[in-house]
C-alpha cells in the first residue's frame, strides 16, 4: 500500500513572510505620497517599514480559524445564558449598573476603535502593519457586536439598556469615553496608534477588562465573562501591536522620541481619566468584589506599567508626566466619582445607592488611609439626610473639564481637602480643567479642544433649552425608571420577584 508522504508544513516565520510581506508590492504608476498622504505631517520619520514585525506572526488564515472558534465558544454560552434565565444568576440587581455603564460608555468605544484601526490600516505603508491593523479593526468590531448582543439579554428584563447609542451621544458621563475616542480618531495615524494601541491597550486595558471580567464571573454573570474574555483574547495581540509600534517608531529615527513622549504623556492622562468610570464599577457596583481599584492598580499599573517604562528607558522614554499624580489619585478617585454619580443620580441611566455598612467596612479596609478620613463621613451625612426624609440631591450643574469632560470633582494631588480646579483664557473665553494634566493637553492644542462638544452647555441649547424634562426626553431617559436610587427601583422589584419565582414554586 502506498503511503502518502505528508506535505511539509511551513514554519510560522516563513508562512508569515509569504502571507504578509509578499502580499505587498512596489507601486509604479502612483507615487507613495499619493497612496499614503498622511504619513509625514505629524513629524514621525520612518525609513524602513519592513522592520516592523508582528511577534505572533499571525496570518489571515490562522486569524479566521481562531476567531471562528472564539465566536462558537461565545455563542454557546450566550445561548445557554438566554435559555436558562442567566440574568437571575447574578448576585444582586445592583450589579446591573456596572453593565449599563459598560454598554453606554465602553462598547461604543470598541466601535470607535474599529473605525480608527480600519482607517490607519489603510494609511500606514508597511504590509505587516497594515495586516495587524486590519485584524484589530475586525476584532474591535467583533467586540462591539458581541457586547451589544450579550447585553441585549438584559435589555429584555431591565431598564437602562435600551438606548445605549443615544446615551453614548447625549449623557454627561458617557461623553468622557466618547471624547477620548473622538480625540484619538481626530489625530494623525501615528498619534492614533500611540493613543489606542499603546496607551489604552498596553498600559490601561488590563485595568478595565481583567479585574472587571473576573468580577463578572464572581458575580455570576456568565454573559459578561464570556464577551469579556472573548474580547480580551484579542487584547494580548492588540497590546503586543501597541508595544511593537512604539519600539518601531523609536528605532526608526531619533527625532521621533520627543513626539512619541509627548503623546505618551497626553494619552496616559486621557486614558487614566476614562478609567475613573471603571474605578467606581470595581469599588462600588460589584456586589461581590474580586479586588479593589487600588489593588488592580498595584498589579496592572505599578507593576506592569513600571516594568514597561523601565524597559522603554532604553530608548530615552520616561514614565508619563501624569504618572505620579495618578498614583496619588488612586486612593480617592472611585469615592469622589461615586459621590458625584450619587448626587447627580437623576441624570444617570443607571441606579446608584448609598453603600451599606458592610460595603463601607470593606472600603475602609481597602483604603485605610483615605476612606474613613474623607469619604465615610460624607456617606454618613448622606445617609442621615436620607433617613430624615431629605435625600441629598445636587440639581446644580457640574463644571466640566474642557479636556476629559469629567465634572471637576477631584481634589488636589497633595491635599484631599481642596478641590482641584484649573482655568485658562483662550481668545477671551475661559476654559475649566480638572487637573494640570488636562490643562496642559488643552494648552498644547487649544484649537482642537475649544471645539469639544460638552454635555452641560448642550443643556442650554436646542432642543433642550435649559429644561430638565426636555433633556431627559432627548437623552432617552425615563425619569423614575432608568435613573435614581436602586432602592425601590423597578429593577430591584423585578429582580427580587423573578429570582423568587425562579427558586420557589409560588
Amino acid at each position: 500500500m502506498d503511503m502518502k508522504a505528508p506535505e511539509k508544513k511551513l514554519g510560522i516565520k516563513e508562512k508569515y513572510r509569504l502571507l504578509t510581506r509578499d502580499l505587498a508590492w512596489q507601486p509604479t504608476y502612483r507615487s507613495e505620497k499619493e497612496i499614503y498622504p498622511y504619513l509625514d505631517y505629524e513629524g514621525i520619520k520612518i525609513h524602513d517599514w519592513d522592520k516592523w514585525e508582528d511577534p505572533f506572526r499571525l496570518t489571515m488564515d490562522a486569524y479566521w480559524k481562531y476567531q471562528g472558534e472564539k465566536e462558537r465558544k461565545f455563542y454557546a454560552i450566550i445561548d445557554a445564558h438566554a435559555q436558562n434565565n442567566g440574568h437571575l444568576n447574578i448576585t444582586d440587581g445592583r450589579y446591573l449598573s456596572a453593565l449599563k455603564i459598560f454598554l453606554q460608555a465602553i462598547s461604543p468605544g470598541e466601535y470607535a476603535a474599529h473605525k480608527g484601526f480600519a482607517r490607519v490600516g489603510r494609511e500606514f505603508a508597511g504590509a505587516g502593519t497594515q495586516v495587524a491593523c486590519q485584524m484589530q479593526a475586525l476584532d474591535e468590531m467583533r467586540h462591539a457586536q458581541t457586547q451589544i448582543h450579550a447585553l441585549s439579554n438584559y435589555n429584555k428584563y431591565y431598564s437602562g439598556f435600551h438606548a445605549f447609542a443615544e446615551t453614548r451621544d447625549r449623557i454627561w458621563y458617557t461623553s468622557v469615553a466618547r471624547s477620548f475616542f473622538d480625540d484619538s480618531m481626530a489625530s494623525g495615524p501615528f498619534e492614533f496608534l500611540i493613543a489606542i494601541g499603546f496607551s489604552f491597550e498596553y498600559v490601561l486595558t488590563n485595568l478595565l477588562f481583567v479585574p472587571f471580567m473576573s468580577g463578572a464571573a464572581y458575580n455570576g454573570d456568565m454573559a459578561t465573562v464570556t464577551f469579556g474574555f472573548s474580547a480580551q483574547s484579542d487584547e494580548a495581540r492588540h497590546m503586543t501591536l501597541g508595544l511593537e509600534c512604539i519600539k518601531f517608531m523609536l528605532e526608526q529615527d531619533p527625532d521621533n522620541l520627543p513626539i512619541v513622549q509627548k503623546w505618551i504623556d497626553k494619552w496616559f492622562w486621557r486614558g487614566f481619566r476614562v478609567l475613573g468610570l471603571v474605578s467606581t464599577m470595581m469599588d462600588y457596583m460589584l456586589p461581590k468584589r474580586v479586588m479593589s481599584w487600588r489593588e488592580a492598580w498595584e498589579i496592572y499599573g505599578v507593576e506592569n506599567g513600571g516594568a514597561l517604562f523601565k524597559d522603554l528607558a532604553f530608548y530615552g522614554i520616561r514614565p508619563p508626566k501624569g504618572w505620579e499624580d495618578a498614583g496619588k489619585a488612586i486612593d480617592h478617585m472611585s469615592h469622589q466619582f461615586m459621590l458625584g454619580f450619587y448626587q447627580w443620580r437623576f441624570g444617570t441611566a443607571f441606579h446608584s445607592w448609598i453603600p451599606s455598612d458592610q460595603d463601607m467596612d470593606w472600603l475602609s479596609q481597602k483604603y485605610p488611609t483615605t476612606f474613613d478620613k474623607y469619604y465615610r463621613p460624607r456617606w454618613d451625612y448622606i445617609k442621615r439626610a436620607e433617613a430624615e426624609g431629605k435625600p441629598f440631591k445636587n440639581f446644580g450643574l457640574a463644571k466640566l473639564c474642557q479636556c476629559c469632560q469629567l465634572p471637576c470633582v477631584f481634589t488636589e494631588p497633595d491635599d484631599a481637602s481642596v478641590l482641584c480646579h484649573r482655568q485658562t483664557t483662550h481668545k477671551g473665553e475661559i476654559y475649566h480643567f480638572c487637573s494640570d494634566g488636562c490643562q496642559e493637553i488643552f494648552e498644547d492644542e487649544p484649537e482642537k479642544y475649544v471645539q469639544a462638544w460638552l454635555p452641560m452647555p448642550q443643556l442650554f441649547q436646542d432642543p433642550v433649552n435649559g429644561d430638565l424634562a426636555a433633556w431627559m426626553d432627548w437623552a432617552h431617559l425615563t425619569d423614575g425608571l432608568d435613573n435614581g436610587e436602586y432602592q425601590g427601583s423597578s429593577d430591584q422589584r423585578n429582580f427580587d420577584r423573578w429570582r423568587g419565582l425562579a427558586t420557589s414554586n409560588t
Partner: protein
C-alpha cells in the same frame, strides 16, 4: 527584575498548558482568580509546545493559545516550538 506574566481562562483546554508552564518555569508563580489563572515570573517565561503536547496527548499548535489568552506582559518572541515572554534586550 521586572515580572512578566500571562493570564489564561480557567477551563479544560488551558489546564495542560498551565501545567506545562509550571513544569518548564520553576520560578513561575500561579495565581488563581475567578475564571482566570495568572502566571508570573521574574524576567522571563517560556511556553513549550513539546511539554504541552506531552500533557495533552495530541499535536498542539502554539497559536491555539490565542483562544484562551486573557493578557500578557513583556516582549513576545514566538517560533514553532516556543513562545517566550521576556524583558531582556
Amino acid at each position: 527584575m521586572s515580572q512578566v506574566f500571562i493570564a489564561l481562562q480557567t477551563n479544560e483546554e488551558t489546564r495542560p498548558i498551565i501545567e506545562a508552564i509550571e513544569a518548564d518555569n520553576p520560578k513561575a508563580v500561579v495565581t488563581r482568580d475567578p475564571a482566570m489563572v495568572r502566571i508570573s515570573a521574574p524576567g522571563q517565561l517560556v511556553i513549550r509546545k513539546d511539554t504541552i503536547e506531552q500533557n495533552l496527548g495530541r499535536d498542539f499548535d502554539l497559536q491555539e493559545i490565542h483562544i484562551n489568552l486573557i493578557t500578557l506582559s513583556g516582549h513576545v518572541d514566538e517560533d514553532d516550538e516556543t513562545l517566550t515572554l521576556h524583558w531582556d534586550r
